[in-house]
Amino acid sequence: MTRAGDLWRFPGTRAAAFAVLAYLYLPIIVLVVLSFNASDSSLARWEGFSTHWYAVAAADGNMVHSIEISLTVACIATSIGTVVATLAALATARTRFRGRIAVEAFLALPLVIPDIVAAIAILLFFVMVGIQLGLLSLILAHTVFTIPIAYLPIRARLEGLDPALAEAAADLYATPWQSLRRIILPLIWPGILSGAMLAFIGSLGDVVVSYFISGPGSTTLPVYVFSMVRMGVTPTVNAVSTLLIAASASLLTLSYLLGRRFN
């Protein structure tokens, strides 16, 4: 029962899954390998092994700073966006009410507007109301775009949950807060986690909005990288990407091992 469930009834699923994982990681392997390339471009063929670009990345104060900015913005925006999206999903899922379509369209708006238009619109607006461009403005703008990304998986999770559960809880005199915390949240946890992770990579990858909404000293990593196009992107970017992957992978492994230990 625990091992692969009833998947034997759907032959090929496992093979297909591994094929997709290979698809996902093949370019990443190339990317990682090239971070050790002696050549001066991340588009070049192999020209010999070197850790030069890691040294360059470490010495490039501007790049290191941009990574800090990116991670800070992504973490905070994702946290706020996910909480807000969860609340919204609790309101819209499993019910029908007048104007629901309008509400959902409204929530999806950040996805629909092309980046550059939203970016310039928000910039004009911030300048108009006098919000200083910097870390705060970046976080505000990113939060907007994390909301629909987090919202959709969470809502998908809530949809089709048995409404009887919450009702049963209410019957047992659970306060709405108790029923939320003890019953609903654990049930939709995978949705929240998925939504947060998608929101995080969305925020971490954003270029256009970040470019326009940043002020002096708050350039994000993707903006920094895109600005390399004039002289060519160097393997420093591969090195930095590799380090980010390595960091997240070790965190992940650690939590996996710890989790297994305590279970």
Binding site: T13, L31, I116, A121, V144, A156, M197, G205, T242
Partner: protein, 294 residues
């Protein structure tokens, strides 16, 4: 009554954030789209014109008459076509792995969630560069195909629509896998057991139980892939060879070299109108369908 108030309370933060930080600025942009362009970019705030919207469909010929111009329509049609293809392909590829993930033991499921998203902690540009290196003639795939004797010609995949497709599907995969996974993960396996016990075959189990259950996830995933894909411009430019414009780069161009902000804004609102129209149509049909079933 309290239900309504509760719902309003839950919705307020999201609506407020989007309303203040996006909708208000967009109202400003909608206003911009009705203004006359500045001579060097920007706009003239005091002069109005509807030219930007006229320009979407018409151009002035030598005699200054308005004639139909389908350039922008063609670009819109191509982008919509590309986004549709990408969304469908992503769905086909994402579904099996989402199903597989949902059937893993709980601990491993969370682990897999990370495994699927971690590649996207890397930078978009170098990720695309990696694909260029894989796909180009003399690259990994080309050499593999030649050495196995599959072909003796260069593969010529890079700078083709196929390469664009490979790159776009790749970029959007997690946005399809995760929503489907979360809706399948709550599947009570006893349901399937029971179905099989009652003599259902695989096809029935899939179409009667699993697919309907994953529907919210599929719809969510389709939105998360299709809509942003419409505006994608980096991957088509890098992998597709940039021989044809996409909506994303067309709009970008208006705020850049063309110095025509009002037209850029107008294009965005035409796009917005199209998408909202499609969403509403879908929602209405869905509701009617649901109404008929219940």
């Amino acid at each position: 009554m309290s239900n309504v108030r509760q719902r309003a309370g839950l919705l307020t933060p999201a609506m407020a954030v989007i309303g203040v930080l996006l909708v208000l600025p967009l109202c400003l942009m909608a206003f911009v789209s009705t203004l006359e362009r500045g001579p060097d970019g920007g706009v003239i705030w005091s002069r109005h014109t509807l030219d930007p919207y006229v320009q979407f469909l018409f151009e002035r010929d030598l005699m200054d008459r308005l004639v139909l111009n389908t350039d922008y329509l063609q670009i819109f049609a191509r982008s919509i076509g590309l986004a549709t293809t990408t969304a469908v392909l992503t769905l086909v590829i994402a579904f099996p792995i989402a199903l597989w993930m949902a059937f893993q033991p709980p601990q491993r499921r969370t682990f897999l969630l990370f495994v699927v998203t971690v590649p996207f902690w890397t930078n978009l540009l170098v990720r695309n560069y990696a694909w260029i290196l894989l796909l180009r003639n003399g690259g990994v795939f080309d050499r593999l195909a030649q050495s196995t004797g599959l072909t003796h010609e260069p593969l010529n995949v890079l700078y083709s629509p196929l390469a664009t497709g490979i790159g776009l599907v790749y970029s959007f995969l997690p946005f399809m896998i995760l929503p489907i996974y979360v809706s399948l993960e709550k599947l009570d396996r006893r349901l399937i057991e029971a179905a099989f016990d009652l003599g259902a075959n695989r096809w029935h189990a899939l179409t009667r139980i699993i697919l309907p259950l994953s529907m919210p996830g599929i719809v969510g995933g389709l939105i998360l892939v299709f809509v942003p894909c419409l505006g994608a411009f980096v991957t088509p430019a890098l992998l597709g060879g940039g021989k044809s414009l996409m909506i994303g780069s067309l709009i970008q161009q208006q705020f850049g070299q063309s110095r025509n902000w009002p037209f850029g804004a107008a294009l965005a609102f035409v796009l917005l109108a199209l998408i909202v129209f499609a969403l509403v149509l879908h929602a209405l049909r869905y509701r009617r369908l649901a109404g008929r079933l219940t």
